[in-house]
Symmetry: C2
Subunit: 218 residues, 2 copies
């Protein structure tokens, strides 16, 4: 069966996946962009943003694997944008311009209905209002046997972890302290939920770990 | 001035410095010994326990620096032993046998008075009942210009962090999940307390980070 995978999700040394005061000015929360310093120079990220060159090596390998065999994405409302409450209109279409880097159907968890938004390059945003299981079912159908990538943010990942629905979770631990914001693991007992650390590798910029079900090979 | 340093303090990926159910049977809490798998094979640790050989490299460098220029130690009651409440007698003399690996005065934080215990090899355990500031003052005097190492555990480190008294904190992040136990950073805003990550380096077995006051070079 296709897997639900979290890839390239960055957290700070003190465990935060986003800084405080997330919003239009600080999409990743204050200081949150420092979590991604390992990702930006990679060849994979450069290619995504239409540039050439970039680094190869451990960071790039992990960045690249996040796009392999992905047939659909799921993301939380806050990852899609800063709008809260009912959608006032159709103006907001994500942070990523006319051609988002997904190129698959993307299922956005929301409490508020909205018609699908079709973007250039094969990305269509669908808004799912009936919960994480429904979003996963729709994503799995859309993925046609490929894997589903859960983009984030912290709240969406925590919900899927608690439901034991994530098959693999790649974290990049960045050498920064955030102090406050959204904590990824607080109050979650990962071994009790069935997870173990299956792989780890470090670069100059981050420590990469892959968590998966204890019974599973990655 | 001499520094207060935490060295070789191991935490799990989910932030625990000790596992649950700490006690005589599990000095580091259940599963807590997995935090130290990076340390045990090092030449420094092997030498401490009277053996020869052991690994060199990043892990050993960090293990070794923890013993450089140390004139006194401070540790919490739980790190000294499993006895809780008033000392019933003088039987318990630490986990480390007749010749503990400290070879300096060691100031044990306790709520209960007890006479100093002199061990072989230069270690004397002093019991300090009037708080962390008093323990630090006594350790600083005993260290005669050298640094003071704060051994742990989690509770002692958190108290000294909150008081902004720690100058350097070396953490080894082990690639394991504990799920519950004593969390090192929960509720502490380290940047607000003045700390930043000054150094990081990884081995096959752990990611080493050194936190210090933002203004300080390490």
């Amino acid at each position: 069966m296709s897997k639900l995978r979290v890839e390239s999700f960055s957290i700070s040394l003190d465990g935060f996946g986003a800084g405080p005061q997330q919003g239009l000015e600080h999409p990743l929360g204050k200081g949150g962009e420092r979590l991604h310093e390992w990702l930006l120079p990679t060849a994979t990220f450069q290619r995504l943003t239409g540039s050439e060159g970039g680094t190869t090596g451990v960071d790039d390998e992990f960045a690249a694997r996040g796009f392999e065999n992905i047939g659909a994405w799921i993301m939380g409302r806050n990852m899609f944008g800063p709008v809260r409450g009912p959608w006032p209109d159709d103006t907001w279409k994500g942070w990523w311009g006319d051609t988002p880097p997904y190129h698959t159907p993307v299922f956005v968890l929301s409490h508020h209905e909205r018609k699908p938004v079709e973007m250039a390059g094969g990305t269509t945003f669908h808004f799912v209002t009936d919960g994480i299981d429904a979003a996963l079912a729709r994503a799995r159908e859309a993925a046609q046997g490929k894997d589903i990538r859960l983009g984030g943010g912290v709240s969406a990942i925590r919900q899927y972890l608690q439901a034991r629905l994530i098959d693999e979770l790649h974290l990049a631990i960045a050498p920064v302290l955030l102090g406050s914001g959204e904590h990824l693991f607080h109050g979650l007992d990962l071994p009790a939920l069935g997870y173990a650390c299956k792989r780890h590798a470090a670069s100059e910029r981050a420590t990469h770990v892959v968590l998966a079900k204890a019974s599973q090979h990655v």
